[in-house]
């Protein structure tokens, strides 16, 4: 007689109160990452409020949100799949150039340029992802991504007939959004546009990372060998997330091109890739908000430090980075909670 039946669903008697509690507990655990927390709602409400109550800051806020989306795209591969990259700027830059070129040669309609910029970067991501799987060590991945970004930079530099080379892309012009909202000098339309796109992409990313697919990515990051032995097609899953991440980065680049109406080689420069990694580490990897928070912190620090010491602000950013990495994010995040417990403990 077979005892296999004992393993089929529903043979643990699911009657009475206790088993239902178990089911609820299991569901709660599975829904843990997907549940909206009050702090999250607060975060997005604050973002919305900034649109209405900080009109003089729209230009800066647009930069912040674009950098945040870019860092979010890196978080998808680094935080969720454990793929390190020093060349994420390649996708950002490609998205920016494609969006700029679309506005010159095809149409000034912003959503078309945004979509094509994202798609182009996604295609590049899909094409280069297999290179990251061949030898899956961190060092190889850093070098391969760095190399691809350098190739792209030089290609854009040489192809001056298309990109304007070192002079940058001239004549980028973006039509009003939905034919109604003109991209104004104060960056109001730009900020609303960038914020809305980022929020939408965030929602999609959030849904994806809490899905079974997202769970399999976390499993791959934790232990690729075991993921393999339970039948997870590791390579395919990684290519998919890398492609999605590239697409997100491309859209961030396209947003920059459209909101500034200018594209230069700077979008493909190495500092883009380095900055975005720094931003993500500042904000913390693997919870989607790290990129957004990191972008706010980075821009704030940049602002503060460059007021104090205009020439040496990178020194201070570097110092903050070193301190954060050495102390460890867990301990920094746990500090307010520990303090809270100490205060409450002391009160008792």
């Amino acid at each position: 007689m077979s005892t296999r039946t004992a393993f089929s669903p529903g043979t643990v008697p699911l009657r009475g109160a206790a088993p239902t509690d178990l089911q609820a507990r299991a569901l709660r655990d599975l829904g843990r990452t997907g549940r909206w927390r009050p702090a999250e709602a607060l975060f997005w409400l604050a973002a919305l409020a900034s649109f209405f109550f900080l009109p003089d800051q729209h230009l800066l806020l647009t930069e912040v949100v674009i950098l945040g989306l870019f860092a979010l795209s890196l978080d998808l591969v680094l935080g969720y799949a454990g793929i390190v990259s020093l060349g994420h700027g390649a996708f950002f830059g490609l998205g920016a150039y494609v969006a700029g070129l679309v506005s010159i040669h095809l149409t000034g309609e912003p959503l078309t340029g945004l979509l094509l910029g994202g798609l182009a970067a996604g295609v590049l991501g899909f094409a280069t992802a297999p290179l990251l799987l061949l030898r899956a060590s961190d060092l190889t991945r850093l070098m391969v991504t760095l190399g691809i970004a350098m190739l792209l930079y030089e290609a854009a530099n040489k192809a001056a007939w298309l990109t304007g080379g070192a002079d940058g892309l001239q004549g980028v012009w973006i039509d009003p959004l939905f034919g109604r909202f003109e991209f104004d000098l104060f960056g109001t339309t730009a900020y609303g546009y960038a914020l809305a796109v980022t929020f939408l992409l965030f929602l999609i990313a959030r849904r994806i990372v809490t899905s079974p697919y997202g769970l399999s990515l976390r499993a791959i990051r934790d232990n690729a060998l075991r993921a393999n032995t339970i039948g997870v097609p590791v390579g395919r899953r990684l290519v998919a997330i890398y492609t999605l991440s590239a697409l997100y980065a491309g859209i961030a680049g396209a947003l920059l091109a459209q909101t500034t109406m200018f594209v230069s080689l700077d979008v493909l420069a190495f500092h883009r890739s380095a900055d975005v990694l720094l931003v993500l580490v500042l904000g913390g990897v693997g919870y989607l908000y790290g990129g957004l928070i990191g972008a706010i912190v980075f821009k704030l620090l940049q602002d503060v430090f460059s007021t104090i010491t205009p020439e040496y602000w990178m020194f201070w950013i570097g110092l903050v980075l070193v301190v954060i990495v050495l102390i460890g994010r867990d301990r920094i995040n746990a500090a307010p909670l520990a303090l809270w417990h100490r205060i409450r403990g002391g009160a008792k």
Binding site: M1, S2, T3, R4, A6, F7, S8, P9, G10, T11, V12, L14, P19, L22, Q23, R25, A26, L27, R28, D29, L30, G31, R32, G34, R207, I208, T210, S211, P212, Y213, G214, L215, S216, R218, A219, D222, N223, L225, R226, A227, N228, T229, I230, G231, V232, P233, V234, R237
Partner: protein, 250 residues
């Protein structure tokens, strides 16, 4: 009817070193078969060849009569070849519910679903809870794996492997490192594994081998050295000499 798992003249060479030497091996359906051998006998290499971690130099691996010699680990897993590891290979940041839930959803082909949450799949929950119950992980089901007691982690090893609904299961020293207090629980769950799953146990612990297995294969220097019932193998003077004897002297 073909055997659950079979190797024909399976061979693995690392340069000049022959780690697995033309091994013919048969695992019958529903078997409780143990693979033993002194240290360095090539047990791990043999398991790695069976599961596809290492490519074979020559010979064949047949799973239910089907040649899987050139298939990847992941393809063999999907065809019903499950395994556990001598050293825990778990997902430290995930909970048992998530780990087992993932394994069940991958088996059902839902692993590529990037939209619905796993919690929305009620059909999966029942099976996950069943497995957690079988392997006595209910109490700790929503704790991060990294914080579980070692014995519980060994049980999770088994639960994750069983979640794939394997036809053939390779257990690589399942009791290794388990403290005495948690050992009984582990042995009980091993004994209660479904009888239609064909099991190959790779083990050092002779008590466990003799209590669990109805057939034993002895591997020495990568070569199929002896095979038989536990009684036969124990009586075989050649085996006593190279293996059991060696242990006594050790």
């Amino acid at each position: 009817m073909s055997a659950a798992l079979r190797t024909i003249a399976l061979e693995k060479r690392f340069g000049g070193l022959v780690a697995t030497n033309k091994v013919d091996f048969t695992l019958e359906h529903g078997a409780r078969h143990a693979l033993i051998g002194p240290n360095g006998a090539g047990k791990t290499t043999f398991v790695n060849l069976l599961t596809g971690v290492l490519p074979a130099t020559a010979g064949q691996v047949l799973l239910d009569g089907e040649d899987v010699t050139r298939l990847s680990q992941q393809r063999r897993a999907r065809r019903g070849l499950g395994r556990t590891f001598q050293i825990n290979q778990l997902f430290p940041a995930m909970t048992p519910v998530e780990s087992v839930g993932l394994a069940v959803s991958e088996r059902m082909g839902g692993g590529a679903d990037f939209w619905r949450s796993l919690g929305a799949r009620r059909d999966i929950i029942g099976e996950v809870l069943d497995l957690l119950e079988r392997f006595r992980l209910i109490d700790v089901m929503d704790h991060p794996t990294a914080r579980l007691a070692y014995g519980k982690q060994r049980l999770l090893e088994l639960a994750v492997a069983l979640a794939g609904n394997p036809r053939v299961l390779l257990l690589d020293e399942p009791a290794a490192g388990v403290p005495e207090a948690e050992r009984r629980e582990l042995l009980d769950t091993l004994a209660a594994l479904p009888s239609d799953v064909s099991i190959l146990l790779i083990e050092h612990d002779m008590d466990l081998v003799f209590s669990f297995a109805d057939r034993i294969t002895v591997l020495v220097n990568g070569t199929h050295f002896a095979e038989g019932t536990p009684g036969d193998v124990m009586k075989d003077p050649r085996v006593r000499e190279v293996y059991l004897g060696e242990e006594e002297h050790a």
